[in-house]
Symmetry: C2
Subunit: 151 residues, 2 copies
């Protein structure tokens, strides 16, 4: 079954990353039955906190395909995608995702993002990270300017 | 008031990006009253759908500071952060965020991510992007291996 084959590859990527001192996360992005991108979490090398395996796979696939749209793709991730990665999938048209290890599996190892999901499920004003509107006096028209520029 | 000064800079970055053919989004990341990173949406140059201004600011700040943790930082974004960017803020310890243009402001221009927020607020099984567990037969121990490797 091809889903399982792709997932085995994602987990193998995660294991190879662990062997190189990285975090235990790998992902493959598949379109039309073909692997378009293989990636691992690279935060240990780069300090980039956004370099999750799924984000890296999306970046690679976009570069390879020459478009920010990945409609119809499927992502196989070794671990449950965090909300940053899940949102990136929604934004790019990824149609489905699978994971092998759950947030419950990761909890004892500090590898769950359930807490972040719970925060983001709260009303904006109740989240630990306040997100507030601040429109400077006199500021207006930014989006209209962009629309005009696009022509 | 410094919040407004930082926001004016974020909006100026967005405008400069529009002038260069990019999307109308800019962000600055501030820590201890100092701007650590200034960024714009770079998707038009790179095809990278994750190159939102806030993500780019987080990447830059992490690189500059040499750590994936940005605890205590504040982000000033010209537009309402999308859920990918908001999750990245939660993950890195950003303590607060401001935006000048709301999703409502962006709606008529195709610049709102309210739809993605609404999707992600649904139960996982009800989202347009199914997220499912698939553990290959015999697969086990990935997170334990990482813990042992870390020593």
């Amino acid at each position: 079954m091809s889903d399982e084959i792709f997932m085995r590859e994602a987990v193998a990527l995660a294991r190879s990353n662990v062997a190189r001192g990285g975090r235990p996360f790998g992902a493959v992005l598949v379109r039309d039955g073909q692997i378009v991108a293989r990636a691992v979490n690279r935060t240990h090398e780069t300090n980039d906190p956004t370099a999750h395996a799924e984000i890296e796979a999306i970046r690679q696939a976009s570069s390879t395909l020459g478009t920010p749209r990945l409609d119809g793709s499927t992502i196989y991730a070794s671990g449950h995608p965090c909300p940053m990665c899940l949102a990136a999938m929604h934004l790019t048209g990824v149609k489905a995702a699978f994971f092998a290890y759950s947030n419950e599996d990761g909890e004892a190892f500090g590898l769950s993002t359930a807490r972040v999901y719970a925060e983001m499920a709260r009303e904006p004003q109740a989240q630990s990270l306040p997100l507030r509107r601040l429109r400077p006096a006199g500021e207006a028209g930014l989006y209209e300017e962009w629309t005009r520029k696009r022509g």
